[in-house]
């Protein structure tokens, strides 16, 4: 296993001039240093940092793995019709338990070549625009939408900024609440901030037991608050990024259990657990009148309000 990581590093170093690769090398080196190659918890993961490692586990199933396990007739659709086809976002028509649906998700790569093709699962604006195009297409033909979330975040690069990363994400956030079809979100790996949220606004949000969802990575949080990466484990804890925490806040609706040791130990069993909840959610949502569906989608977001109303109303001017 150790040599496997070293091999990956050596391979990546050949691409080291290309963007994002250096970060991946750094991450692998840290994994190596921490002796955490192919991290295997002995019991159920309880610490938030263990879940971070499981969510990023190199063998963890990716979106296309779940697509082939859960859907039939998957027909991939490409491109945003504006700029390009982003490999970090996949999507297409498919059939789920006999009914046609639209599937959209982040895609990470398994080997070095795939990682570069998928840009480590970090979409550029054209990825979000492709996702939105497919979702609009789905709404037009009344196909339910299933999204799969697994990204370290939207890509922070020069081209991404030039082509309007912020605008691309923002537009999805405004359009998804309006989609006139049921939307079910499955967060199965890393839910990296706005880059995850941009395809994660829906009627039901399901989350795998060891997936994470956060406004910032534990590493970045640590470097902002402590000015180093050494506090990432503590940062993971205080950010409350586990499925259990988020269910408590009402941010996600259901926690989907994983097989012992994590999803990668048994893709079939994990997919079966997802199928069960996905099927129930889609059945429930398809029974709702459209206006009611949209109203509930909005109210679900509107309820995400945690504040206190302090006395002493002050009028100015």
């Amino acid at each position: 296993m150790r040599s496997e990581i070293e091999k990956q590093i050596a391979e990546l170093e050949r691409y080291a001039e290309s963007e994002a690769v250096r970060e991946e090398i750094e991450r692998l080196r840290q994994q190596l240093a921490a002796g955490r190659d192919g991290f295997q918890p002995t019991g159920p993961a309880t610490d938030a940092w263990d879940r971070v490692l499981l969510a990023r586990h190199p063998q963890r199933p990716y979106t296309l793995d779940y697509i082939s396990a859960l859907f039939t007739e998957f027909t991939e659709l490409h491109g945003d019709r504006r700029f390009g086809d982003d490999g970090a976002i996949v999507g297409g028509l498919a059939r789920f338990e006999g009914r046609p649906v639209m599937v959209v998700g982040h895609q990470k790569g398994r080997d070095t070549k795939q990682k570069l093709l998928r840009n480590f699962g970090m979409p550029n604006p054209e990825g979000y625009r492709k996702a939105m195009r497919l979702m609009h297409l789905a709404a037009k033909f009344r196909l339910p939408i299933v999204t799969f979330v697994d990204t370290p975040g939207a890509y922070p690069g020069i081209g991404a900024e030039e082509r309007g990363q912020a605008e691309a994400i923002a537009l999805n956030l405004r359009e998804m609440p309006k989609l006139r079809t049921p939307v079910v979100v499955v967060i199965h790996g890393e839910g990296g901030s706005g880059g995850a949220l941009a395809i994660a606004v829906g009627d039901r949000v399901l989350m795998l037991e060891n997936a994470i969802y956060s406004v910032i990575s534990p590493e970045s949080c640590s470097s902002i608050l402590w000015r180093d990466w050494d506090h990432k484990q503590e940062a993971a804890r205080i950010l409350k990024l586990t499925a259990q925490d988020l269910q408590g806040f009402g941010i996600i609706d259901e926690v989907i259990p994983e097989p012992p040791g994590g999803a990668h130990n048994d893709l079939g069993q994990t997919a079966a657990s997802i199928r069960l909840r996905l099927s129930a959610a889609l059945n429930e949502l398809s029974r709702l009148p459209l206006e009611e569906l949209l109203k509930q989608r909005y109210e679900r977001l509107r309820r995400l309000a945690t504040f206190v109303e302090e006395s002493g109303h002050r009028a100015a001017g």
């Binding site: 900024e161 956030l173 405004r174 901030s193 806040f249 945690t306 009028a315 100015a316």
Partner: protein
């Protein structure tokens, strides 16, 4: 050769010099000239020499935009409940208390209702001095309520952004405010009520990736830093120096992300004119 060896003690670093005129003079961040603060304030916090736009507090912003500086503030009593019980080197509650003391605000945004060139409008202004203008549940709720008011009273909405993004100390709850506000703006959009987003320096992260980029018009102040990722994060990722002017308002205008760059002096007139042209006050 003893004269080579100085026996003197190392020089004491000079004690911090306290300039008595502190508070009266400020240095322009762009042209480095020393400016008399009164001159600067009389010029809407724009350098009289080079035109550099200084950050403006939320209060000053609303006073500048509303007629005679008069407006009614809404939802001023909303405050963060520290939902994560967040504590790093300091507790989030301490940070909140300090920010409140420094700004006199309970969170990083003020909603005002008043007259803009004689016509009713709702304007939200963000306060950078409150934890970097970051967006948590309070900012989210205040904007959601401002949108509700615009829908109910058919007023146009203006939001002046000045923020580093989502507030880390409220975790995924702050992330969700992006979705919540954007869903509200979708309603405003469908009701055809005009919304103008004014991006001031800086507008980045979760704020730019939600409501700040969703205006019917997106306009920015000259020189404002606007982007999704902060420049430092991009530099660390790609290991390159960023080009001069990258992510400045002028760069965004050139890349088609903004409708216009509007100097502060012209902002009020610009808002009044464009809202009028959009039919914001037609009955």
């Amino acid at each position: 050769m003893a004269w080579f060896h100085k026996n003197k003690q190392p020089l004491e670093p000079p004690k911090e010099k306290r300039v008595q005129t502190e508070g009266l003079w400020v240095k322009c961040g762009a042209c480095r000239r020393i400016l008399w603060k009164k001159d600067l304030e009389a010029n809407l916090l724009c350098c009289p020499r080079c035109g550099h736009h200084f950050k403006m507090s939320a209060r000053a912003r609303l006073e500048m935009l509303f007629d005679h500086g008069r407006y009614v503030e809404h939802d001023a009593h909303l405050a963060s409940s520290d939902p994560l019980q967040f504590r790093d080197t300091k507790s989030y509650r301490d940070r909140l208390r300090r920010a409140e003391k420094a700004t006199g605000l309970k969170d990083a945004l003020i909603t005002g209702e008043g007259l803009l060139a004689g016509k009713p409008a709702i304007i939200c202004a963000m306060e950078f001095d409150f934890i970097g203008g970051s967006m948590g549940a309070v900012v989210g709720e205040k904007i959601a309520r401002a949108i509700d008011r615009c829908l109910a009273q058919r007023h146009p909405l203006v939001i002046v952004s000045c923020s580093g993004g989502a507030r880390m100390m409220e975790g995924a709850i702050s992330l969700m405010q992006m979705a919540k506000i954007s869903a509200g703006l979708a309603r405003l959009d469908e009701a055809q009520r005009p919304y103008i987003s004014v991006l001031s320096d800086p507008t980045t992260g979760g704020v730019s990736a939600s409501f700040a980029m969703l205006g019917d018009l997106n306009i920015a102040e000259p020189g404002a830093l606007i982007g999704f990722a902060g420049p430092r994060v991009i530099e660390q990722t790609i290991r390159q120096k960023l080009p001069e002017g990258f992510q400045r308002a002028e760069f965004l205008l050139a890349h088609g992300m903004l409708d216009a760059i509007v100097p502060r002096k012209e902002l009020k007139a610009y808002l009044a004119r464009t809202l009028n042209l959009l039919g914001a006050w037609d009955s």
